[in-house]
Symmetry: D3
Subunit: 134 residues, 6 copies
């Protein structure tokens, strides 16, 4: 059984590698590499897999999951510039793939090891990434 | 190949264990344990896995699935109080996890054993449960 | 110019007039009159009409509007039974129309008289009420 | 890790087997077999599974996936009559199941064999098919 | 005060004037004029303006509105070819504008003259028409 | 009769007045004033009011409206930093209110004076602005 919680954060970013020239960044990442950044309303679904606690009827109290997402994701990324404000992306290109991986890696150690974890991250209503640790 | 059908039902409920005091219920379930109930528009997706019938091009006629959901879920739970009106929850806390399990167990014997079954149940646009029988 | 803020609340209710018999309530309001209540995820859009403050570029700081909705609507109705827990509906049938009117009347005196006010309330994804004071 | 791209196409169709009488088609497929066709806004999600390219941070540049969907799906099916205009359905009943299979089979050879592929196709907001090649 | 009800219908159509050549139809209406039709999931919102009945708390029982939409719109247009199956469009180009007008004119005489009426019709999630009788 | 077209753009911005100190900007605009910007997926609905052309059945060919929005809005703002890349906001705080006004003023002279114009701009799924020229 899996439960999920959806949350949002609004951030600026730019697809960019420091070790590439501006021309190469522009050629590979197109308008997503605009030097002055652009931004998105990211929609995050965090899915936790486990078994029902027969006492509470919960796999996990969603308040715990909501607070965990708030501490590990929203406080770090909401209303931020991912490239400039977030150490995780100082040397990591903030593609939706990499953001998903960073979120998964931030949440994983905070959850009981017997619980499964998947994240689904939408950058726009047309683009999504699904990540479950590999 | 999997096909799915989405349906809705609107119900009142309260998270609550009869064998706990009101204080303990309130402490564990918070505002979801309000003694006079609250309610939700539940959104149910029922997913059936099978192979395409080469004659019809269907895995399963969705009219059959729609009618099954109507008989086994909508007729039982729509415009009801899950705690008071539904025998399934007389001694079972109506968390989204437990409601999903009750729905899965109601649908499973009505479908051919060679078909797979998963249910996805949303309590709000932020909370979902995925259940496929274990 | 109009600005709007969307918020949600989850509540139980029953369409019901105390001065009618159970039979008449059932005959007029159908399954919406189930004696043990049912419930909904209400979606509220509050629209405020005014002119842009040239200093801030805001018609109204949405944080003010969000807090106002929280105090006047969410705190009163969320995770409640409208019929039993909310004095406003002690003698008023909690139809979407009447809930919209009660919300509008709660918000109106809290907003500057020069601002216009409209509320849009959805009971389900098929049903909405628009109310602007008459 | 999986990435996905959502696109739409609008098409007419009719559920119909040439080798059946009109009566049998009507009896099995109901109003979906109306001889003059009806239509839908199909919503397609194409999911590609692979590993992150450490250089770009992409599993696959979504521009490549978007263009592939455009060439293989949108150009063929958008604003068309699936039964009359699309050779794929000359002798294949255009159920959502069969359309999904045709789309998967059109995309599969265009993607690197080491990438996984799943398609999710919605015919209406109540009906979906998930197909990943078997 | 206004109330609304949302319903759907799925239909084939083609933008086309009988008195124009195929070339002119194609030149003015583009791919929407494909001779073999295409189709859409139309989403209809019907808005009725009136005052609250103090006895029921309703502007209009939504069941009445739902049944009216079923009789006057869904039964006529759902799973049909608007050009071929619907007499209304025998000599009227089935643009979203004209469909909205036909729907409004079908509903208007069935509603009490003291009630206002507006229809909102979506052809796709990007295109809408609002019509209130002029 | 009104027709509408929905389009999107993704942009970075910061709420900020050059003539205020950083402290005052932070105090009035909170996290929306983060010096390194944040961003949004803006959703724009452009509504044009007019009468049906009896020849085409259109109020306005939506292709014309789509191209106009592309030229006047998407090309200017999509994948840009509104504060740094868009001259319109060099000295104008890019609140949703001001962005709506700038969009309306860009579109107005490009449309026939006998057509009405309204824009609806969403910054997030909770916040919207409606503007029709005053």
């Amino acid at each position: 059984m899996k439960i999920s919680r959806r949350e949002n954060f609004n951030a600026a970013h730019r697809l960019f590698r420091k070790d590439w020239s501006d021309e190469k960044n522009a050629s590979v990442f197109g308008k997503c590499s605009n030097p002055n950044y652009h931004g998105h309303n990211y929609i995050l679904e965090v899915i936790v897999e486990g078994s029902i606690d027969p006492e509470t009827g919960y796999v996990l109290d969603l308040k715990i999951l909501k607070d965990l997402i708030k501490d590990e994701v929203i406080e770090r990324f909401d209303h931020r510039n991912l490239n400039l404000d977030c150490a995780e992306f100082a040397d990591l290109n903030p593609t939706t793939e990499n953001i998903s991986k960073v979120i998964w890696e931030a949440l994983r150690p905070k959850l009981d090891a017997k619980l499964g974890l998947e994240v689904i991250l939408s950058e726009t209503d047309k683009n999504k990434v699904y990540y479950s640790g590999s």
